[in-house]
């Protein structure tokens, strides 16, 4: 596992944040939030991110190529979690979305998602207007 960049565990570094209600169905047999169901919080954060940064209908289709979740502390039901989302890196035809998950003032996890712009099944350069929206939502140093 790679070392964690300190910016990634600073909530105010992320441009977009959303509260999500945990559900008893997110728990598993160990009495904590299940590691895969936590993935749905990040998924929800990505969906919020897209809705927030611009007109969804004008977004190009991007595919998830790789998803990495770090587990820093256990999460618990009941209560809220807050998922914070921003852009970590922008390439020519792909970009990395970075997320952090908070509960009760503790950063309990991180998620990196590599997303590729694809057109007719091939990776293709990010359209200028979309790249622009991504740039405006980079993590703030």
């Amino acid at each position: 596992m790679s070392k964690i960049d300190p910016i990634r565990v600073r909530l105010d570094a992320y441009p977009i944040r959303q509260e999500i209600t945990t559900r008893v169905s997110d728990n598993d047999g160990y009495g904590h939030l299940n590691g895969i169901r936590i993935g749905h919080y990040y998924e929800e954060g990505r969906a919020s991110f897209y809705r927030t940064i611009g007109d969804l209908a004008k977004h190009p289709r991007v595919l998830v190529a790789e998803l990495t979740i770090r587990y820093l502390a256990e999460g618990f039901w009941p209560g809220q979690v807050e998922v914070a989302t921003g852009i970590v890196r922008i390439g020519s035809s792909s970009f990395v979305m970075g997320q952090a998950l908070w509960q009760n003032g503790v950063c309990i996890g991180l998620c990196d998602t590599v997303l590729v712009h694809s057109s007719n099944g091939q990776s293709s350069p990010l359209p200028a207007h979309f790249r622009n929206q991504l740039e405006r939502n980079l993590l703030k140093a």
Copy 2:
């Protein structure tokens, strides 16, 4: 399908209410909240109900014997839903929990859950303290 008692679609009739964030993962291929995943909202409402009415550790174990969900209108992501929960009927060893689901001022569904107090695999009379808690949380006419 039986006729709906008008009290069931009155939000203020229910003693316990909770807001839940919908998630994009609650959607199905039809672009609305999936009928089974809606079941998790009701499940969450039941869990809140138990936590609210008294000390969980003192509750007897009750089993779901029957669950009936009515679908009155489509639900949508994103946004919140509110689940309202109360007691509809109390028998000697079982009771019926009644719930309603609201979104944007519309009652989109109802749920009735028949719960049975069981002890050693047999239905057994509801303990007096628990029956008392249930009675205090009957739907208000």
Copy 3:
């Protein structure tokens, strides 16, 4: 709760049957299959039913109006469950699908789904070809 018609717990009464792998994620904190996740087995059975009885593209759109699940015994992971599906009743614009869930030779649950044929937001008579397909898949007495 209504009395169970004996035909409903006879596996060979159902025209369509499907095996489903249980998953550890179907369990809940009580160490058995969760009551709501069991709903996905029935949902899967309904989807199989539609694919089996005829050309999906020619099916009219039907909406779930009511779903009732009976819990007859606990279900467990790991292993398989078998969901059996057939038609219980056919009305003019709606019908009832009946299902049973089996694990290790035991019928652990039943599901009744009231489905309504809707056109432009209104219930509307079942098309003749579809009614015909439903009739051929009634539970066998």
Copy 4:
């Protein structure tokens, strides 16, 4: 994203394999298997792995520290997927489980899970008997 070791896309390199029924509820609005729900297939594979390699009751508690999923091709419902599981690397107090997901003869994804043996909230050396079981289940070159 790192380059893929060719051994990882060879099904016969993995000591433990399991078939899982896909469910219509694994689909998302794009008509393919949802990226997070795919995570439950890998979770199921890990659970099978633990049950297969030895007496569960004698296993030490290990925590997921990091989970990385690669998406190589879309997966579809209906049908089966096969998840293949083995050990990729063994450290002093942690190990990496490697998995591949197959559908219709195509490797549609890979998963790497970093698992840490913890005792009283601290990482602690892998017990000898468990390390032995892991070694016997390394990917076969």
